[in-house]
Symmetry: T
């Protein structure tokens, strides 16, 4: 078993369609600038309402990635 | 920047299909009697099981709205 | 109103497609060996990332069932 | 399975005799002005002390009720 | 001092009369199938309301017991 | 000692100058439509930033008031 | 309104009969050595099991008292 | 680096003007009877309302001090 | 990526020497009766004191294992 | 409604005068190296005591900013 | 089963070598001035870093002891 | 007393031997790219199990460092 060090960053992904789309938005944006993204942990689910409808899902998550040695 | 006062109420939305449908049910019902509904915060996700299948998603959320001055 | 005793077990369901699919996987697996499964409570939502995409949703939940008298 | 929407309100019931009496006071007062009260969830138990004795139990609880469609 | 290993299970006891009766129901049911039950920890107190009265106390608790070596 | 029943509502007060001003805004607005407001409990302190400066304090609080018998 | 300073101490009261008896035991013991005891806040409810029965309720609480000026 | 042992006590400071004044009241009162008071941690902010205005800020805090060897 | 279902059980490991020894005691005992034990999560660290010395470390943990399909 | 991705960083601002000054110190320092800082969330309020007086307020907060697409 | 009353105090033990040494420092110091110290509960583990190395473990714990009747 | 601004980052250190070794791995790796690392706070302790033995300790911690003015 290898013993690496990991870092976690707090990301808020947003999307109109679903919680999963908001997670994907956050994970993909984080992966654009970070290498070795490995997992995520959802911390909060919230969203915006406009005209009595959900207009945006906002998912606060921690995104974990391996640091290079 | 305007400085309003907001109120949050605790709503439990339910639906058979998905977490998003349960959120929508709660947000739409709250909006039927409250003006200026602006956001929601998910506090708990739970549900009912019947015959080994998920029969209902229940989402406990806070729904926030602006109070008129 | 009947006064039963219930038990809750901690299950982690996983799926590629959605949070709901991960919940269903956990609920169905638990129901395969437990009778009278009645409800679930989501405790954590997390997942694995591979190649900058969500590769797996992992939902930690408590599954509640009635104990026979 | 029917899919209703529920609301929860925060109530503090108080009583001299017991925790159960304080819960009953809160549940009964809430039921006097709300229809379809269905459940309660205790959030805090506290109380007042006078002369080295418990003089009042105070139970903070959420009282849940079904909203009419 | 002996160094044993213990296990905890999540039990929901219910009763009409009191919180203590609901705890007793859960502890006694757990003890019917587990040996060496030693302690309990209350995690949640909730209940059902019918006709403006508390109809059932529901106590979510962890029941701890010693595992045989 | 009198045994009343109290209710708590979730209010978000906002102000530009200080946390205390945001609390005051929430307490005063709640008192405009509720009788017997008696206490508040701060749940969250947050705010908006514009141009590198704090532009608004937002205080989420519970405001407690006595219900008439 | 007077502006005093208060202190809270963590006490564990125990009793065989009920949660209320355990609270009373703790409050009365604390009041034997502290002046101006004014309130308590329950933090945990737990207990010992012997022979499949609850043998002792243990209530962890904070007991608050006014400090003399 | 020296390795001391510290103790923390739970204090509630109160004041009419501000949260900072309530903290100061608690810290100063604690320092009157304790040596080597070194830090504080705010645990809760609450207060009393009279006539629709904040009449008192109450800050629950832990005050930490070094024990003499 | 395979999509399994996992279960977590609450175990209290105890040992005289160290926290790690208490964790090992719990993990090894759980592994004696469960297959595919994969991870643990520490939930609480506590212990017994005798004669002014730590006599036992008690580590409450969740032990996770893969359920067979 | 635009769907951006946001990041939050954990900052500890410190100041002698007030909680607000400590928040300002943290927000301004974060804004010096980050673009599009949009909000903050207070997580902890603590401080240092010297000579029986508050010598420094320390506010742990999350500062949120929009990531460029 | 005897029904005693217990008190818990918040202690921060510190040490250079290990978490266990920091716990021992706190437990032994508390036992020097308190009789009947019976258990401890770890609340926080933190520490100081100097020159890229851990220079001190700091363990915040509650130490419980039996009060004399 | 100087009034600096600090930042905290979330790091997961891992090691085979002990919790302290996992903390050291995280602190040392963070110190390799950050100046003025000053303290750490443990947030979670978990680990991997292989063949019924602890194969890896994983410590999630926040590492705090002073920002240059």
């Amino acid at each position: 078993m290898e013993h690496h060090v990991y870092k976690k960053v707090d990301i808020v992904g947003t999307a109109e369609e679903s919680i999963e789309a908001a997670i994907a938005a956050g994970v993909e944006r984080a992966s654009a600038t970070l290498n070795h993204v490995d997992w995520f942990e959802v911390k909060e689910i919230r969203g915006a309402v406009r005209g009595g409808k959900v207009a945006q899902y906002q998912v606060v998550m921690q995104v974990g990635f391996r640091l290079e040695d």
